[in-house]
Structure formats: structure tokens, C-alpha cells
């Protein structure tokens, strides 16, 4: 006969759940309040936050006012700019990084080790924000201030993404490639008709990583493209804060739009995204 578990066996899971739920509260409450407040008339944004009531977490005085005003004042432009930049980065940067990852993962050539250590590792280790000022001077000398090139081109190549591609391509069985090479396929053909179709996991991971880091990037767009029609979402919301007479519900509405796009992208592809971020740390 199976013995029932003693009541002490439930203590550990109970503590675990209590801690897990406390953590969830810390994660979720700010987002719920911000979302609820973005659907609230501006004069009521803090109404249930101070003094605190549970109503603060739900849009009890629901209105689309903040979103309507935001888009009337041209926020759609910033959303469009951010989408355009992120998608262009995924397509153009993705192609360049995949080619480089393929070369490092599948070819033997002179200088491979040297190039990998001196360019990929070094650029991976030095944070981009740290070198923003000379990059700004350089890009300025090209006449690229307030231009799409200035926003886009410096962020296309990404050593973390090259890393991901290299790792994936290196693990593809050689027989698969040999068979195609024997049939006379060129390397470019091997890449596009054999390797890419089986590369869905790495493509999703790299695509997410590039899209989200471009969507969330702030420092570089702030320096390089301050002109209004070039502003991206992150810059637009940052300039709305602290200005004389901040409109709270609009600021939060802008923040929610900035937040929801990466959240909606990450949720269905969690596993890929986690692999993409943690991939390099475990090498």
C-alpha cells in the first residue's frame, strides 16, 4: 500500500511557492500599474496608487485618451522608425552575421584564430556605449548625423550573433554538406538551400536578439538622431519625461507600447530567446 506523504513533505514546496509568488508580485505589479494607468485619465493616474488600493492595478476609469493624444502628436512616427530600424537590422545584419558565423564555423583558413580573437572577442567584450563618442565623431565625419545610415549601419554587425551562428553551423554534420558539394553546388547554394532550411532555431534566436536589442537601444539613437522625425520609441519616451508638465498617462502609454512589442515577441519563442542570451556565457 502506498503511504501518504507526511505533512512535512509539503513544507518545502510551500516555501518555494511563497517565494515564487513574492517574486512574481515584484515583477508584475509595476507593469500592471503602468498598463492600468496608461488607460486612465491623466488627473487620476495616481489616484489609487497613493493611498494604495487594488484598483491601481486595473483600469477602472478606462479611457483611450492617452493613446489617442500620443498618436495625434506623432508618436506613430517613432513607432514606425523603431520597427523599420529593427527589421532592417534583422535582415541586413542577420545576413552579414550569418555569413561570418558560417565562415568561422565551417571553413579552415589562414588567420581564422587571429581574426576571431582580435575582432570578434574584442568587440564582444568592449561594451558599445563605452566607445560611443569616437563612433559619434566618426559617423559625424561621414555626415551621417540625423540619418538612417547613422542609426542603422554601426549596429548591423553583432559579435554575439556571429558567435551564435558559428556555434550552430559548426555542429551541422559534414556529410550533409559533402553530398551537396559532390553534386557541384556552390558554397552560397549550400548555405541557402541546405543549411538555412535546417537553421530555424538559430535564425529565430538571432533574429529575436537583433530585433529586441535594436528596439530597446537608447544611447546611440539619442546621440546620433535627436531630430524629431528621426526619433525612435525609446528616445521619444525619454524626452517626454521631466519636460515641463509631463503628461503621466501619455508617458506610460508610450512606455507600454515600447514594452509590449518585445514581450509579444519573446513569449512565443521563450526557449530560443533564453538560448540566445545565455549561449555565450557557457562556452
Amino acid at each position: 500500500m502506498k503511504k501518504a506523504k507526511p505533512w512535512t513533505a509539503y513544507i518545502q514546496p510551500a516555501i518555494a511557492y511563497i517565494l515564487l509568488i513574492s517574486g512574481v508580485i515584484i515583477v508584475v505589479v509595476p507593469l500592471m500599474w503602468a498598463a492600468a494607468a496608461s488607460f486612465t485619465p491623466n488627473h487620476k493616474v495616481f489616484e489609487y496608487a497613493y493611498p494604495f488600493s487594488w484598483r491601481a492595478l486595473f483600469p477602472v476609469d478606462f479611457t483611450m485618451e492617452a493613446y489617442d493624444n500620443l498618436f495625434e502628436r506623432g508618436f506613430g512616427r517613432a513607432v514606425g522608425n523603431s520597427f523599420f530600424l529593427a527589421i532592417a537590422t534583422v535582415i541586413i545584419g542577420g545576413a552579414a552575421n550569418a555569413l561570418a558565423g558560417f565562415a568561422f564555423g565551417r571553413f579552415e583558413f589562414r588567420g581564422k584564430q587571429f581574426l576571431f580573437l582580435s575582432v570578434i572577442m574584442l568587440t564582444f567584450m568592449v561594451p558599445v556605449d563605452l566607445t560611443a563618442i569616437p563612433r559619434y565623431i566618426l559617423v559625424n565625419s561621414f555626415g551621417w548625423i540625423n540619418t538612417w545610415q547613422g542609426l542603422l549601419v554601426p549596429g548591423l554587425a553583432n559579435s554575439l550573433v556571429i558567435f551564435l551562428f558559428r556555434q550552430f553551423f559548426a555542429e551541422i554534420p559534414q556529410e550533409l554538406i559533402d553530398a551537396a558539394r559532390v553534386d557541384g553546388a556552390s558554397w552560397l547554394r549550400v548555405l541557402f538551400s541546405i543549411i538555412l532550411p535546417i537553421s530555424k532555431p538559430v535564425l529565430v534566436a538571432a533574429g529575436l536578439l537583433m530585433f529586441i536589442s535594436q528596439w530597446n537601444s537608447f544611447f546611440w539613437p539619442l546621440l546620433i538622431a535627436p531630430r524629431q522625425e528621426m526619433r525612435v520609441v525609446q528616445v521619444e519616451i525619454s524626452l517626454a519625461i521631466g519636460q515641463y508638465g509631463t503628461v503621466w498617462n501619455e508617458l506610460l502609454a508610450g512606455s507600454m507600447i515600447a514594452a509590449i512589442v518585445p514581450i509579444l515577441l519573446v513569449m512565443p519563442f521563450q526557449r530560443y530567446y533564453v538560448q540566445a542570451i545565455t549561449g555565450t556565457g557557457l562556452e
Partner: protein
């Protein structure tokens, strides 16, 4: 046209490597070079100035104050984040019903940008009508000034940074935990090791590589903390949150003193290289 075979890998590498060299590697070196130039006020041209910029920043109390704030911030935020991330990773590694849902929820902050986090938490911590003060008063605790107080502003920044940082770094540690083969821990259990013993004697040593990586990556990321300062405190009150990355931005872009700014960035670059050197040392000779 047919390209000779041995050029193919270089062709594949060319676009990405050229971009990395032009926009990442050259600026890294240029940071060091730029720090030896000043902008002449008379001609508007850049003039070589040797160590003049360094002289200026090293004799500047604002620079030293921001250096000091950055060190204090680093010594607080990194241990706090790594300790909490370790706890969180152990929690979400438990085999409990519904754990997948918890893991998904803990991914939310990682997808959200630091700007949005700073804006939302900035309003939550508002000294007059923020929700945190709303909760505190309900518990009978007096309202706190948070971002407006010399004593609390840096701690507020730590909370904001950790809201993203803790779940982010816990992902790395979780991946490390999942790499530990279950038989190793089962064997320890059979040999009568307590949960605490198997954690300190088996789990922690096996996490050494991951923890070393997280320590360095976290230290470097927090060393460059910028957005919350720009959005919420502008370095104040009384320079108590004037982290060095914000100081370089203020000098370079608000005051137009790119020379001093580059000199500070060069100092930071050297520090980052030292941190990375320590990482390579810690990770050397493993497996």
C-alpha cells in the same frame, strides 16, 4: 566570374568584419587617441594636448566624486544582484507544478528596456504620490523621498537596475544548474549529504565558471549604467547618483567637452579591460 576557392571564407567574413572594425574596433582605439586632444576655442579645431585632459579630470573633484559613487554602486549592486539571481535560479529550477508559468513571468523584465523600467519605477517611487509610498503609508510607515534624497537615491537606482538584472542573470545561472548531471546530486543524497552540503560542496563548485562569467558581465553592465540616471536624477541630488557613464555624457554632450569625456572613457576602458583580464584569469585552466 569565378573566385579562387581560398578567398571564399574571406568573402563571407568581409561585410561583418569590416563593419565591426570600422564601427567598434577603430572607436575603441580612437577613445584612447581622442583623450589626448582638446577642441580649440579660437579656431574650433582639434589640437593635440598630451595628457592635459587627464590632468584636468584627475584634478577635478566632480570626476572623483562620480568615480567614488560608481565604486560604491558597483560594490552594492553586483553582490546583491548575483546573490538574488542565484536564489531565483534555484527557485525556478525546482520541479514543481506550474514552474513553467513562473519562468515565463520572470522573463518579462528581460524583454523590457531599461528606459521603460526607469520611467515606470520612477513614478512608482514618486515621493508625493507613488505607489510604494502608498503601500508604506498603509503599513503606517512615513512617506520616503527615494530619488530626491541623498541617502536613498542610489538605492533606488539599485532597485531599478535589479528589477531587470536579477531575472537576467538568473537565466545564466539556471542554464548552469541544468548542466549539472542529476546522478551527481543523487549520489550525494544517497551518501547522506544534506541539501546544504550538496549545494556548497557540489553545486557551487560546478557553477564556478557560470558565476565567474556572470560576475564579470554584471560588473561591466552596471559600470555603464546610464538611462535611469539621465531619466530620473540627472546625477543628483548633490551628485549622489552621478555615475561615471552619466558624467562622461554630461561633459561630452551637454557641455561639449569631448576631450575630458574621452579621457574619462579611456579610464573606464582600462578598468573594463582589467575586469575582463580577471575573468580570463578566473576561467583559465578549467576543463
Amino acid at each position: 566570374m569565378r573566385v579562387s576557392r581560398q578567398f571564399i571564407p574571406y568573402l563571407f567574413l568581409a561585410p561583418a568584419l569590416l563593419l565591426l572594425i570600422v564601427f567598434n574596433l577603430v572607436p575603441t582605439i580612437a577613445t584612447l587617441v581622442e583623450s589626448t586632444f582638446v577642441l580649440s576655442l579660437r579656431s574650433g579645431e582639434r589640437v593635440f594636448a598630451g595628457f592635459a585632459n587627464y590632468n584636468r579630470i584627475f584634478n577635478d573633484p566632480v570626476f572623483w566624486k562620480s568615480f567614488q559613487v560608481t565604486i560604491v554602486f558597483s560594490l552594492l549592486v553586483n553582490p546583491i544582484q548575483i546573490f538574488l539571481a542565484l536564489c531565483l535560479s534555484i527557485l525556478i529550477n525546482q520541479k514543481l507544478p506550474g514552474i513553467g508559468l513562473f519562468r515565463s513571468i520572470y522573463l518579462l523584465p528581460i524583454a523590457v528596456s531599461l528606459n521603460v523600467t526607469a520611467i515606470v519605477w520612477g513614478l512608482m517611487l514618486d515621493q508625493n504620490s507613488g505607489m510604494i509610498n502608498g503601500i508604506l503609508t498603509q503599513w503606517g510607515i512615513a512617506r520616503q523621498p527615494f530619488l530626491h534624497s541623498v541617502d536613498q537615491a542610489l538605492w533606488s537606482i539599485i532597485v531599478i537596475a535589479s528589477w531587470i538584472g536579477v531575472p537576467l542573470w538568473s537565466l545564466f545561472i539556471l542554464a548552469g544548474l541544468q548542466n549539472i548531471p542529476p546522478p551527481v546530486l543523487e549520489a550525494a543524497k544517497i551518501d547522506g549529504a544534506s541539501a546544504w552540503q550538496s549545494f556548497t560542496k557540489i553545486t557551487l563548485p560546478l557553477l564556478r565558471r557560470v558565476l565567474a562569467f556572470v560576475l564579470v558581465a554584471d560588473t561591466v553592465a552596471n559600470f555603464l549604467m546610464f538611462a535611469p540616471i539621465l531619466l530620473l536624477t540627472n546625477g543628483g541630488p548633490q551628485l549622489s547618483t552621478n555615475l561615471i557613464m552619466y558624467e562622461t555624457y554630461r561633459r561630452g554632450f551637454l557641455y561639449g567637452d569631448l576631450g575630458a569625456s574621452s579621457a574619462m572613457l579611456s579610464v573606464m576602458l582600462v578598468i573594463v579591460f582589467i575586469i575582463i583580464g580577471v575573468e580570463l584569469y578566473l576561467l583559465r585552466g578549467q576543463d
